[in-house]
């Protein structure tokens, strides 16, 4: 994949990357099949005009995708592009159930082939998958800078430490007022908005911020809809909540993002900061694939090859959705992992 055109040296401004998404994706895929990993790999030649042949027209079937609403935009992008470039005989029923909801309701019951998750799979979930006779195969598809947000009229908080966030959200510390966190902040109670318990974001936040998985104070509004979190925050001057960076990025001006201090100074949430590791709340988002289905279904193999290539697409992942795309190296590792599983 050395000829891969993705330039990921840093993540500069968006304007430099107005490359047609299909061209990038198609070339990437052509490169893949050129390497001879798989004899009849689909060639996504639609717009690049490089004269490749379309050999995937016999590809058909249904791939059921469940899971996180955080991953949903990436799932939609991958499936939509795959149908445009490779084969529109493959049908993708996609549902948004939350990471945990998707695992519980569909993936671990063998109903879905792929489950999106905004947190790593839990050991207990892996065991249940094994009881069902399959292995959940993990692929990271993007990175997110989980954003702690406050109301636009909040003129006291600019930067907050992880420790302070933990004191806000922890069930043990009985903090109700902003001034309980820092004495110079107002004597007003905070109004908290966060992810629902079926959400992977909820799991991430409790483990990374509060310190223990699924342990959190119980007097906050939990929802699977990021829009409701944002609306809650923008309606109350003393509100605070967290949501994916992609939401904040797509709705500038509606809420104010806090800088996060993880011990090495304040960092504003951004894709750059998330990808170079300076933003403390940068988190990977994943898809998990049912290993049995992967071995059985050719369309699933072909789709994942395409999907993994697409996760490096700057235009789609960063510009259009607002997540951190995968690096060439990560893509290559994922592809290797995929081929190993298939064999």
């Amino acid at each position: 994949m050395s000829q891969d055109p993705h330039d990921r040296s840093g993540l500069p401004s968006r304007r430099n990357f107005l490359v047609s998404s299909s061209v990038v994706a198609a070339t990437a895929l052509a490169g893949c099949s050129g390497n001879g990993d798989d004899g009849d790999a689909g060639d996504g030649d639609t717009t690049s005009g490089d004269g490749g042949t379309t050999s995937a027209d016999e590809l058909s079937g249904t791939i059921r995708i469940s899971g996180s609403s955080t991953v949903y935009p990436v799932q939609v992008a991958a499936t939509e592009e795959f149908r445009a470039d490779v084969s529109d005989d493959v049908e993708f029923p996609i549902s948004r159930d939350g990471s945990t909801g998707g695992f519980e309701k569909f993936f671990l019951k063998g109903d879905s082939d792929i489950n999106g998750s905004s947190r790593p799979i839990l050991e207990e979930e892996v065991e249940r998958a094994r009881d069902q006779g399959f292995e959940p195969i993990e692929f990271q598809v993007a990175g997110d800078a989980l954003t702690a947000a406050v109301n636009n009229d909040n003129d006291w908080a600019e930067c907050i430490t992880i420790e302070e966030l933990s004191r806000i959200w922890s069930p043990d510390a009985e903090n109700e007022l902003w001034s309980d966190i820092r004495s110079e902040w107002p004597d007003e109670p905070f109004d908290l908005y966060g992810a629902a318990t079926t959400s992977g974001t909820f799991d991430y936040w409790t483990r990374e911020v509060v310190g223990e998985l699924r342990v959190i104070r119980d007097d906050f509004e939990g929802t699977e809809e990021d829009d409701l979190i944002a609306r809650g925050i923008s309606d109350n001057q003393y509100a605070h909540g967290y949501l994916p960076y992609a939401y904040y990025d797509n709705n500038p001006g509606s809420i104010k993002a806090l800088e996060i201090d993880g011990g090495e100074g304040c960092t504003e949430p951004s894709l750059t900061a998330a990808s170079d590791g300076t933003y403390p709340l940068a988190r990977p988002i994943f898809i998990y694939v049912n290993s049995n289905r992967l071995q059985e279904k050719e369309e699933l193999q072909e789709f994942l090859r395409y999907y993994i290539e697409l996760t490096g697409n700057q235009q789609i992942i960063a510009e259009e959705i607002g997540y951190v795309p995968m690096s060439d190296q990560e893509i290559q590792d994922n592809l290797n992992k995929l081929e190993e599983t298939i064999e």
């Binding site: 939509e80 996609i94 829009d227 959705i321």
Partner: protein, 539 residues
């Protein structure tokens, strides 16, 4: 003086109470109506993209539409027949549109060649039989026999027939199986009263239109020329029947043009407004929206697979729930014992049905997931194999169970509403229970039963919770074409749009989706009202 006092004295307090109560009632009505109007306006405003339009543009369009509507209303108010024609033609077009959507979805599912196989093998021969046999007595059994026999033959020879039919263009198949028979039917109906020339013109014109429409109209993907033809036929058939009836009764047909004039006024308004050069509205609800699947980009997103999915689910649901509910209602009303311990059991069942009508829909979703989707087994024996999560059958059965208490109760009410005098008259004529039921009770109750069923379709089309529970997908890319296909429905996709990161999804695309759903629901309810009104007029 005393007399005068007695006549003029009124209880002021009681009067005041009356007036206050009247005001409160008026206020309650106003709140309800205004809230609904505000909702509809917001959604329409967003769906039609009026945000993007310059006020002048909006003013021009609204003025033109208002003028044409006002013109029609003023003209129609002077003449009762014109008024009636204007109202019934609008109703006929709405009914035709609903019929059209169902017909197109039906054709998408059965495919033109299978349709042609059964139409050619069974439906057409049956129609010919019905037309050829003059004696009333033998007509029905003979037609039924041909229908069943032809159906069996078509099923046996399905592969050959579909292959044969597959060679022709779909629209040609529709021309032969729908347009030509329709033309013959029109001829036989029109010829005796209107004469050969007119009947020939009508039938010939129909066939000509059947050829011209598919050839001349652009059929934007995913619609084919054949489907455009099917939709057009369904859309205008009720209007055609209405025009013919009015013609036969010697009534003027001027009023029938009313919907056309109103829409025409709006179109002219848009043309003029565009010519002014002010920014035009940028509608989210447009052809692209209705014919595309979801996309990550709001401008490319659409509702097509979900629309087809919703209507597919409704058709299967009605096919399952209608006979079961009517059967149950007939049993409970006409046959079930009403006295003794068995009568008490029937009463218990009756109360339970009424209670089931109030059970939250999410409970039906759970039931659908646990039983219908995943199946039931007793130890090693599979009692019910399970239809699978998120497929058409599961969704249709689950929603069918959901509406069944409502349809059973409304069917019972319709049956109960048949006057006892008619039953007694029938019995006194020496009719048996069965005759009375078939010839008196059911025909009279049918419109009421249909109204209840259609209204419950309107309820089912908006249900989300049970669909989420049974694992229906939020997003699918192509519409379901078989009972085992994964399905999404309008409210599922709309709900997903509400949670998108990109703001345009949550405003424009969401509004377009909600408006589509509302229009579908209102149109279905309008059909129910039409059926009921026709029935009341016949009484």
């Amino acid at each position: 003086m005393a007399t005068v006092d007695r006549l003029t004295f009124t209880n002021g307090l009681s009067k005041l109470k009356g007036a206050a109560f009247r005001l409160v009632c008026l206020g309650a009505t106003a709140v309800g109506v205004l809230a609904l109007a505000a909702l509809l306006l917001t959604v329409t405003w967003g769906a039609l993209g009026f945000d993007a339009a310059h006020p002048v543009w909006i003013l021009v369009v609204l003025t033109a539409t208002g003028l044409s509507t006002g013109g029609v209303v003023t003209y129609a108010r002077r003449d009762e027949t014109v008024k009636l024609a204007a109202i019934s033609s609008t109703a006929a077009l709405i009914g035709g549109a609903v019929l059209g959507v169902f017909a197109v979805v039906f054709q998408l599912i059965v495919t033109p060649s299978v349709w042609a196989a059964y139409a050619g093998g069974a439906l057409l021969p049956a129609l010919v039989t019905a037309l050829v046999i003059p004696n009333r007595r033998y007509r029905l059994p003979a037609t039924a026999a041909v229908l069943v026999g032809g159906g069996v033959v078509a099923t046996v020879a399905l592969d050959t027939l579909t292959e044969l039919a597959g060679a022709a263009d779909p629209w040609l198949l529709y021309l032969l199986t729908i347009v030509v028979p329709l033309a013959v039917l029109v001829w036989t109906r029109v010829e005796p009263t209107a004469g050969r020339r007119r009947a020939g013109l009508l039938a010939g014109g129909l066939v000509l239109a059947g050829v011209a429409v598919p050839l001349l109209t652009p059929a934007p993907d995913p619609l084919t020329p054949g489907l455009v033809l099917v939709f057009g036929l369904a859309l205008f058939s009720p209007l055609g029947v209405l025009a013919w009836r009015r013609f036969r009764n010697g009534q003027s047909n001027v009023g029938l043009a009313a919907p056309l004039v109103i829409v025409g006024g709006a179109v002219v308004g848009v043309v003029i407004a565009n010519a002014t050069g002010f920014a035009a509205a940028d509608p989210w609800l447009d052809w692209q929206f209705l014919t595309s699947p979801h996309s990550r980009l709001p401008e490319d997103a659409g509702l097509y697979p979900a629309v087809v999915g919703s209507f597919f689910i409704m058709m299967v649901m009605a096919a399952f729930a209608f006979p079961v509910s009517v059967g149950a209602a007939i049993y409970l009303e006409e046959y079930a014992p009403s006295t003794g311990w068995r009568g008490r059991i029937v009463q218990l069942i009756q109360v339970n049905i009424a209670n089931l009508a109030g059970v939250p829909s999410v409970v039906y979703g759970l039931l659908g997931l646990a039983i219908i989707a995943r199946g039931v087994s007793l130890g090693p024996f599979a009692l019910w194999p399970g239809t699978g999560t998120g497929v058409v059958t599961t969704a249709a059965f689950t929603l069918g169970l959901l509406i069944m208490p409502i349809t059973i109760i409304s069917a019972q009410e319709a049956i109960r509403a048949v006057p006892d005098a008619h039953r007694r008259a029938s019995y006194a004529m020496g009719a048996s229970d069965w005759h009375t039921l078939r010839n008196v009770v059911l025909p009279e109750a049918l419109p009421g039963i249909l109204t209840g069923t259609i209204l419950s379709l309107g309820r089912a089309i908006g249900e989300t919770a049970p669909l989420i529970m049974i694992g229906a997908a939020t997003t699918v890319y192509s519409p379901p074409t078989s009972l085992n296909d994964s399905v999404s429905a309008m409210p599922m996709q709309i709900y997903a749009w509400a949670g998108e990161f990109i703001a345009d999804f949550r405003t424009g695309v969401l509004s377009a989706g909600v408006l589509t759903l509302l229009l579908a629901m209102l149109a279905i309810n309008a059909v129910a009202i039409l059926v009921r009104n026709r029935y009341e007029r016949n009484q």
